[in-house]
């Protein structure tokens, strides 16, 4: 499934799948097309022209096309690009179902925050060369003991020193407006203690921790430097 692949915009979703099912020599093309449309949640839109579809619906239709001949291997190029959050969730759900059905899915993506849950194995390519290969956990582990956190506070932090005193494992701390950046060295139970601290002090927050994004950025920052 290519990134920004084209669709026959004047066809309906059902006609589109029928055409590719026929070219794939799928038995009972019409039945299988309906099945695939149902699977990606587009059955109700089967008779609508593709030109009226949103980007997310087209992406789901592309996945339905991939499902037609029940493939053992699916290669997807940036399947999450330019999708809204709901669209991303839908596509991730479909990829997970393909994987759970036993298909091998190879996908390339820059949306790394979704990859640690989605992928069994992960590779990072830099200038066409493989620089990392392993499970998401092993890559995070290998990247070092430093953990990065972003905490979005409801109110700006008034005294950073309290945090530094309470948590000596914090090696770097910066707070810009309501966004707190933390770099933490070790401290196995840091997350638990830190959350307890926030709750005890009645600080409302949202924690964002995207280790893979950071690891990826580090590789490319190194190259730029």
């Amino acid at each position: 499934m290519a990134e920004n692949a084209g669709y026959y915009e004047s066809m309906t979703a059902f006609e589109y799948l029928n055409r590719f099912g026929y070219l794939h020599s799928v038995a009972d093309v019409r039945g299988r097309s309906k099945e695939c449309l149902r699977e990606v949640g587009l059955y109700e839109h089967g008779d609508e022209r593709i030109s009226t579809f949103s980007k997310g619906m087209k992406q789901r239709l592309g996945i339905a096309r991939c499902l037609l001949n029940d493939p053992e291997l699916v290669i997807m190029d940036e399947p999450l690009t330019a999708l809204d959050p709901n669209g991303k969730t839908d596509v991730i759900d479909l990829i997970t179902r393909m994987r759970d059905r036993g298909a091998t899915v190879i996908l390339s993506s820059h949306e790394l925050r979704y990859m640690d849950d989605l992928c069994d194995r992960l590779c990072i390519l830099k200038n066409g060369e493989l620089v990392e290969n392993g499970t998401p956990e092993s890559i995070v582990h290998k990247a070092g003991s430093l953990s990065h956190y972003k905490v979005l506070l409801k109110r700006p932090l008034t005294n950073e020193d309290i945090l530094r005193a309470q948590f000596p494992e914090i090696v770097e701390l910066s707070c810009l407006n309501n966004l707190l950046h933390l770099e933490v060295d070790g401290g196995a139970d840091f997350e638990k203690r830190f959350l307890r601290f926030l709750l005890d002090n009645d600080i409302e927050f949202t924690v964002q921790s995207h280790q893979l994004d950071r690891i990826y950025s580090d590789y490319f920052r190194e190259a730029e430097e």
Binding site: A2, A5, S25
Partner: protein, 257 residues
Amino acid sequence: MSGQWRMFLRTARSSVEENVISDQYPLALFSVTLMTTLFILFTSYFSGSGTKSNLSMTIYVVMVLIMVYAAIRTVSSFSGEIDGRTMEILFSLPIERSTLFFGKLTGLMVAMVPVVAMPFIAYLIMLSIVTGAVPVILLSMAAELFLLSVLTTFAIIALAAFISLLLRRTLYSLGVTGAYLLMMLFISPVLNDFSGQRIVYAPDYVAMFPFPYAILAAGTKSVRVMNGADPVLYAALILFTLIVLVLGLLIVRRMEL
């Protein structure tokens, strides 16, 4: 039947369906029928020319429209697929590129046959209504002209496919194919004059392919189409079609998207 043959037939059928269900197809059938009817009525009323001349004149005019339509459909079937990024999906199917290329072309050619047949059917129906019966000689001439029209359309489809694959962009391909058709329309009478009227043909539109036609005809004293078609004419059209098909195939096999 081998796998690729089956895939060829599937691709061809899919291409026929794609062309026949397009919005332009019924419009094309209607336009050529209407144009034929109006042209026959006009020429019969004003010029009072003979039936044979009427037929060849009518077909000449209608064929210009048919060739433009064939070129548009072919360009949208090749450049359109490249521009619309659907060609890469087709290339990812378990179909060899040559099979895909010939399948699409065959589908286009098959879909064009009814469009080419319409003016002949309209002409013969009108003639039988007016005169009560169609002379046998006119029937044989119509059959001969029909075959030539079909071959000419196939040649245009092959040429438009070659230009589309070469230029890739729909707009450029339409421009170049259209320019070729226009150029041939203007150049053909000049070439005919240069040939010292040695080349005699009834349907002037065949002169839209003057290069292979003229080269092959140069060795003969004259090439007659009416009252017994010259095989050289058919050979020239078929040779022209085959050459551009081979060139198109070479491009499609090496194409990177």
